[in-house]
């Protein structure tokens, strides 16, 4: 009896439960088994789009901030969030939370694209070009958005000397990266986008196509004041015939990805939002609470006064102080609409004295006509073209970039005032003192 008990005790005490310590996560998957098949890598590519659409990247905050920092009296930040408030009054602290989040989320996006590129070998050959092209497109677009925010604009001084942003071209860079020059960053962006133009298909659902890459390329060249190349890239998009202007300007906006209308005929590229995934932060900050927004940003009469009373784009404003472009909480965020390509082509043609596609006057009248301004202009100046661009693309995240490249000012601040550039986030400089801080933000 005693022996039996002792055996029982020993068994109980020393019974091996060691295998009970092998517990694998079920909500996530071990990295090594996450990228084994072509489908796995394609899913990661989709993940990169989702990251691109993060609220702090192109889900709205970068566009919002481009409007806030570029504004001079046409809108008003009335919100309680401190970070956008600092951006609006152009007095960013080095600890600005938005400056930090945009940086972090953007590099997370780039990392996903780099991880895709690093695993192209498992992608089936029929899809390899497309996957590579999309990853490079995402990497280029994100680097481009970053360099415009955190560095001097391309045309300010010598881009080969000005610090740009760190170029992340490999995944999981545990060692900190330092800033490349503005020139180096642009060269890489153009390289990636050119590859994307060559690799991507003509149609690809709401994902990037060869024309999406061209459209972004047109923006890159425009920032460099390389008008001919910008014009050519924009023209390529228009001439493809894949896109068309919607007859009703208002229909461009607030389209939800729920259901079939994923992207409109005019959308060259848009961030997809559903009521279960994605976020539209333009709506968050511009829309009133009736549309699920915070209503932090008012449009001032000074902006409304710029429109012709007959302009349908004026009619889109509501409550006399809010843009109607953003009043669907779950609406897609337009990134590139075809009308921008017409405006870019018009500007490029005008500045180069050419008429690729059609004359600048015709492109501008085409855009005005769609907005209900049926009386064509007889002639256009560069100011007309830029005003038309301002009105057509208002509150879509172009403001500061157009001001900088055309070297206009924001109120009393010249285009290259240091306060119009974000600080390198303090968090990053604490980790990597090799990251040079921007002018005007201490040492």
């Amino acid at each position: 009896m005693k022996n039996k008990i002792i055996t029982l005790i020993i068994t109980a005490v020393f019974f091996g439960c060691a295998d009970q310590l092998d517990i694998a996560p079920v909500n996530s998957v071990e990295s090594s088994s996450a990228l084994k098949t072509s489908k796995d890598v394609e899913a990661l590519l989709v993940g990169a789009y989702a990251l691109l659409g993060d609220g702090d990247v192109l889900g709205g905050n970068m566009q919002r901030d481009a409007e806030l920092i570029g504004d001079d009296g046409e809108m008003f930040w009335d919100g309680t969030f401190v970070d956008p408030g600092q951006i609006f009054i152009k007095k960013l602290l080095i600890t600005n939370g938005q400056a930090e989040l945009t940086w972090l989320e953007a590099y997370e996006t780039i990392n996903a694209a780099n991880t895709v590129l690093n695993n192209l070998n498992v992608v089936v050959s029929t899809k390899k070009d497309k996957v590579e092209g999309e990853a490079k497109f995402i990497r280029a677009l994100t680097h481009f958005e970053l360099v415009r925010v955190y560095a001097k604009t391309y045309t300010d001084g010598n881009p080969a000397n000005n610090p740009g942003i760190p170029l992340a071209l490999t995944p999981d860079n545990l060692e900190p990266l330092n800033r490349s020059t503005v020139q180096q960053v642009y060269t890489q962006i153009i390289q990636d986008l050119t590859d994307a133009v060559n690799l991507l298909p003509e149609t690809n659902g709401f994902f990037a196509t060869t024309y999406t890459a061209s459209a972004i390329l047109s923006r890159v060249y425009l920032m460099q004041n390389d008008y001919a190349k910008a014009r050519d890239a924009a023209h390529r998009v228009i001439a493809s015939g894949k896109y068309s202007l919607l007859s009703d300007y208002a229909n461009n906006f607030n389209n939800s990805s729920n259901g079939s209308s994923n992207a409109t005929a005019e959308d060259v590229f848009s961030i997809q939002v559903t009521n279960q995934a994605g976020i539209n932060n333009m709506n968050t900050f511009f829309a009133s609470s009736d549309f699920g927004g915070r209503g932090d940003i008012y449009v001032e009469p000074a902006h409304l006064a710029l429109y012709d009373p007959a302009d349908e784009r004026l009619a889109l404003f509501y409550d006399d102080e809010r843009t109607g472009k953003w009043n669907n909480q779950f609406g897609n965020v337009n990134i590139v609409r075809l009308s921008e390509m017409y405006l870019t082509r018009a500007e490029g043609n005008f500045r180069e004295g050419t008429a690729l596609g059609q004359a600048p006057l015709d492109d501008i009248n085409f855009i005005r006509n769609r907005a209900g301004l049926t009386t064509p202009l007889a002639s256009v100046t560069i100011d007309d073209i830029l005003l038309e661009r301002h009105l057509e693309l208002a509150f879509e995240g172009h403001l500061i970039h157009d001001i900088k490249r055309t070297q206009r000012s924001v109120g009393a601040l010249p285009y290259n005032d240091p306060s119009l550039v974000f600080p390198i986030p303090n968090r990053e400089r604490l980790i990597n003192s090799g990251l040079v801080q921007n002018e005007g933000y201490g040492n």
């Binding site: 005693k2 008990i5 005790i9 109980a12 005490v13 020393f14 439960c17 009970q20 310590l21 092998d22 517990i23 996560p25 909500n27 996530s28 998957v29 071990e30 990295s31 996450a34 990228l35 899913a43 990661l44 590519l45 989709v46 993940g47 990169a48 789009y49 989702a50 659409g53 401190v82 408030g85 600092q86 602290l93 590099y107 780039i110 990392n111 996903a112 780099n114 991880t115 995944p171 999981d172 860079n173 545990l174 990805s257 997809q272 009521n275 279960q276 995934a277 609470s289 009736d290 549309f291 699920g292 927004g293 209503g295 909480q329 986030p425 968090r427 990053e428 604490l430 005007g440 201490g442």
Partner: protein, 1032 residues
């Protein structure tokens, strides 16, 4: 446990009995002086021999003694040992008086019990009677100020919220720093499980009334038996068990009310208007008309509301007093306990309902318990503990939400509570659209939340322990325990359509969230004790396995037909669905040996091998040994004759404990499947691998002295300890360009806690008027000795910096106001690198240490008085030398930067050149001095009259004619008085704005590093309760 000791005593004493000649017998009854009750289990020993017996259930004994002479020694734990000469008596009844020596107490240690005088480790004990009638939702709050070196801090005045407990300092940066909680042998789930903002406290599900004792294992010797779980200290909770006696019934009824400990004074309407007119004029960002239009808007469209004090429409709302209201509590507890020699039981039922002082908060609790012990035969005993409870917590959002009640104070005083245009709460309905308004009042009105939204957290909690104990030999016992903790939580929140300004859901939003945590433990161990000659040896060894599995599911819907429909079934659109699961396990082998020689030399060795699923295969196991020794000097010849020193013991302990509270899969590289995009599935890298990750280790050295002077009327303990944590589990910030993750858990760095603790208990007066005092004092110094220059940030300016204590405030040092122009100034380095130059450019200011939230020392003092049946107990408790950061300062102490109402001191703003003040010029929208800086650091030291209880026991002479054994009426006050220079609501504060719980995406690093932050945090409640306690 106590029964086990008793059993050992019986076994030890009965054996030699038969060796003695039996010539006559004495018998008698032993009773307690305290209440006259019979005392079972009292040891009765013929002095100078080993002849003895113990009293039976009725307190009777019978013993054979030699024919002549002899003295009987009666001893019983908790009572004074009494000698009685036998003389010619054959019946000797004895009344034992309660021992004032606390040293002979039995304390619960891991997997056993020990006499306090034999301890070589440091364990603080709080008895259940000290906490049972304190009307706080969770028992840890009741031990505040009662145990040396145990820092307890409620984050704010919300009910059932997370409570911070630190035993001898914070010993980790990124791993959990809360102690391990063990109830009746089972480690329980103590981490917040809410998926909504603001941590909740699973310990609040326990019933304080059921607690027999709380032991806090503080040093390595005491805690190492819990090995990897012990680095933060271990809190062992033992529930009440039945005794072999007649059934005792006990009923306790308590009712009372509560008030906030403090209100803060804000600008009234006239002051507000004046300040903002001035602030506008100073910047000119907006016109006079625009400002007036705004004030009209905030005043509900009525200009007289802010402009004309004589008008009946004039508004002057004190929002502070709208948010902080009178609360109430009602509680009833019932218990019955008793049993026969073979079977004993304790059963209880409790119910309490509490309404908080923060508008909209309430906490209701019902608990039932049954504890059974049965002796099947003289070898086998078995039993169980089983409790089932339900708590319903009516919650409000965390401190960072516009909708949290105390953010009401941001609303201008000129905003009416009721909008005269609608006769509804301000902000409820827009006149023109009929939809919720987006620009009136200034912010979303939290009163809307309280009146229209629901947020309840219902928890069913079931703890069960089953044990069997078998005596293999007389001194070798095997015990097997299986215990589980089932936590089932249901959170339901409905955000009404009228709340859409805050929620972004114009037609309502509902959440239904279910969490289930099943956590079980089995312990199997052998206990052995032997004594030979002057040697005594006690050993325990065995294994333990714990597994915890958490399941979580959430569904969220929007688009409800109306606010009458609140269940997800009525949502036209499902906007979020989520189900997850996570699990961990620990496998442990442990052993301990306590050796005592000649009653004066003590040695204890313990060790534990822990394996955890939380580490990779190569680093899965850790070994945590400890050794300690004690020397009872008072047993030595040279002190035995000393009349002053009754008891003196030196002790020293050293050992290793560990910490693995770092999430369940921290070492693995992970990819998450949540990268879907517009319905297309997607994944993303989410965590970078670190297969080398291993246990965080804390070594602790403790020197202690236990003493008893003047017949033990003065007793106490002094301890000095050094705790070194190495291989810190640190969530290291990665450069943003690393991409996949912002942080990675590494073993990096070391930190140290060292400190001094003092406990003094004194019996000042005996006799009719009794007075005793219990004082404790603890000073802990935390120092981050090495984190390789990593920067670990918490909220606001909280940071972990090498060479400093955890969580100091690090930022620009405010240099006051430039008398010439009213600019806020900050210190910057001068040409010599000294911090003497000033600048008005925040970005140019030098970042430096500007405050320390860690207290210099904490203390508590309890004085108990009794006179006849009247008892008075007074507990003062204090925290000294800690700073508090006002996270909301940039909004409410911002010299009119934005339209938030301002704290009254902002009226002292700079106005004219030459003005000397610390408040910068009022400048609307200009951020003059509103950057986070030492401007918002305030001293948080306080002394508090924590508990004051006055009780009256009806005299026994009166009761003897009734069937009542006890009738006690009492009145009690919590937090009655607070002495502090702190200018906000309450200095016992740490905002709940960042969750630590896993279901809310908690960030433990942030929670550890962010200390002493006030962000619209509700004050503690001042509670007055009246109670009646009846025993029969």
């Amino acid at each position: 446990m106590r029964k086990f000791l008793l059993l050992m005593t019986i076994l030890g004493l009965c054996l030699p009995n038969s060796l003695w000649a039996q010539e006559r017998t004495v018998s008698g009854k032993v009773t307690s002086e305290v209440d006259g009750s019979s005392l079972p289990g009292v040891s009765v020993l013929l002095k100078g021999t080993s002849t003895g017996t113990v009293t039976d259930v009725e307190g009777n004994y019978r013993l054979s003694v030699p024919t002549t002479g002899g003295t009987l020694t009666f001893s019983f734990i908790g009572f004074t040992t009494t000698d009685v000469a036998i003389g010619a008596n054959s019946v000797i009844d004895v009344t034992l008086s309660e021992d004032v020596k606390q040293l002979s107490e039995v304390v619960v240690v891991g997997y056993g019990t020990q006499l306090k005088q034999d301890l070589t480790g440091n364990i603080a004990k709080v008895s259940g009677s000290q906490v049972e009638n304190i009307p706080v939702p969770s028992f840890e709050q009741a031990i505040q100020g009662r145990a040396a070196g145990v820092f307890v801090e409620a984050s704010n005045g919300k009910l059932g919220q997370g409570i911070k407990v630190r035993v001898r300092g914070t010993s980790s940066l990124s791993a959990g720093s809360q102690p391990l909680y063990v109830v009746d042998g089972v480690p329980i789930t103590s981490q917040s499980q809410t998926a909504l903002s603001g941590d909740t406290n699973p310990l609040a599900d326990l019933n304080s009334f059921d607690i027999e004792s709380i032991e806090i294992l503080k040093d390595a010797s005491a805690a190492a038996i819990y090995g990897s779980r012990g680095a933060n200290g271990v809190v062992i909770i033992t529930t009440k068990r039945g005794k072999s006696e007649k059934t005792n019934f006990n009923v306790n009824f308590m009712t009372g009310f509560s008030e906030p400990t403090n209100h803060v004074e804000w600008l009234n309407t006239a002051e507000y208007v004046e300040l903002f007119q001035e602030a506008r004029a100073n910047t000119g960002y907006i016109s006079v008309a625009s400002l007036e239009a705004r004030l009209d808007r905030y005043a509900g469209g009525v200009r007289a509301a802010w402009q004309d004090p004589s008008s009946p429409s004039y508004v002057d709302t004190d929002w502070d007093r709208q948010a902080l209201v009178r609360g109430s509590i009602n509680q009833i507890d019932f218990s019955a306990s008793g049993g026969t020699e073979k079977t004993r039981f304790y059963t209880s039922l409790s119910s309490s309902n509490q309404d908080g002082i923060l508008l909209g908060t309430a906490f209701d609790k019902v608990n039932g318990r049954i504890n059974l012990d049965h002796e099947a035969n003289d070898k086998l005993s078995l039993g169980m503990s089983f409790s089932l409870g339900r708590t319903i917590n009516s919650r409000v959002p965390d401190d960072n939400a516009f909708s949290t009640p105390l953010q009401m104070i941001a609303l201008p005083p000129l905003t009416p509570i009721i909008d005269t245009r609608t006769n509804l709460l301000s902000g409820v309905l827009d006149l023109t659209t009929g939809l919720p308004n987006s620009n009136f009042p200034l912010y979303y009105n939290p009163l809307i939340d309280i009146n229209y939204n629901d947020n309840t957290n219902t928890v069913f909690r079931n703890l069960g322990t089953f044990y069997g104990s078998y005596n293999i030999l007389d001194n070798l016992r095997f015990r097997s325990e299986f215990g589980y903790d089932l936590l089932s939580q249901h959170e339901e929140r409905y955000l009404a359509s009228v709340a859409s300004r805050n929620t972004g859901a114009p037609n309502g939003q509902g959440d239904d969230i279910r969490t289930q945590v099943f956590n079980y433990t089995t312990n199997n161990f052998l206990s052995y004790n032997v004594s030979f000659g002057q040697h005594e040896l006690e050993a325990v060894g065995g294994m333990s396995f714990q597994n915890s599995n958490a399941n979580f599911a959430r569904v969220q819907g929007q688009q409800f037909p109306s606010d009458s429909y609140r269940k997800i079934t009525s949502a036209a659109s499902i906007t979020l669905g989520n189900a997850t699961e996570t699990e961990y396990s620990f496998l442990s082998y442990f052993a301990r040996a306590n050796y005592k020689f000649a009653n004066k030399y003590l040695l204890s060795l313990s060790g534990r091998v822990d394996g955890s699923s939380r580490f990779g295969p190569d680093n899965r196991y850790g070994f945590f040994p400890a050794a300690s020794a004690g020397w009872i000097l008072s047993e030595e010849q040279f002190l035995s004759e000393n009349n002053t020193i009754e008891f003196l013991k030196l002790r020293v302990s050293y050992g290793l404990t560990g910490n693995a509270e770092i999430g369940n899969f921290p070492w693995q590289g992970l990819s998450s499947g949540d990268g879907g995009y517009a319905g297309v599935p997607g994944q993303r890298p989410s965590q970078l691998a670190n297969p080398d990750l291993r246990w965080e280790q804390t070594s602790q050295l403790d020197f202690g002295i236990d003493f008893g002077f003047l017949n033990n009327r003065i007793t106490g303990e002094v301890d000095y300890y050094v705790k070194n944590t190495s291989d810190l589990l640190l969530n290291v910030n990665l450069p943003g360009t690393a991409g996949a993750a912002r942080t990675q858990v590494k073993n990096l760095g070391n930190l140290e806690n060292k400190g001094f603790e003092l406990v003094i208990n004194s019996v000042n007066l005996t006799g009719e008027l009794k007075w005793n005092t219990s004082f404790n004092f603890a000073r802990n110094r935390n120092l981050i000795t090495d984190i390789q220059d990593q920067v670990v940030d918490g909220n606001f300016l909280s940071r972990a910096v090498e060479g400093e204590p955890i969580g100091i405030f690090y930022g620009p040092k405010y240099a006051g106001v430039d008398p010439a122009n009213g600019d806020a100034l900050y210190f910057m380095k001068d040409a010599n690198g000294e911090l003497t130059a000033t600048t008005n450019d925040y970005n140019a200011a030098e970042f430096t240490k500007i405050g320390d939230p860690n207290p210099d020392f904490i203390w508590g003092i309890t004085n108990n008085f009794s006179y006849k049946g009247i008892e008075l107990s007074v507990l003062f408790q204090g925290v000294q030398g800690n700073d508090i950061y006002l996270g909301g300062g940039k909004f409410f102490a911002a010299n009119g930067d934005f339209f938030d109402n301002q704290r009254k001191d902002q009226l002292n703003r700079w106005r004219n050149p030459g003005d000397i003040t610390n408040i910068p010029q009022a400048r609307l929208f200009d951020g003059n001095g509103t950057g986070e800086s030492s401007r918002y650091v305030e001293d948080g030291s306080y002394v508090r009259l924590k508990t004051l209880t006055l009780g009256y026991n009806l005299p026994r002479t009166l009761l003897s004619k009734t069937s009542f054994t006890k009738v006690r009426i009492y009145a009690s006050a919590q937090n009655l008085l607070t002495f502090t220079d702190y200018k906000m609501w309450d200095p016992e504060v740490n905002t709940d704005l960042s969750n630590a719980g896993p279901n809310a995406g908690g960030n433990v690093t942030t929670a550890n590093v962010s200390q002493g932050i006030d962000f619209y945090s509700a004050p503690q409640a001042k509670m007055i309760t009246f109670g009646l306690n009846i025993g029969f």
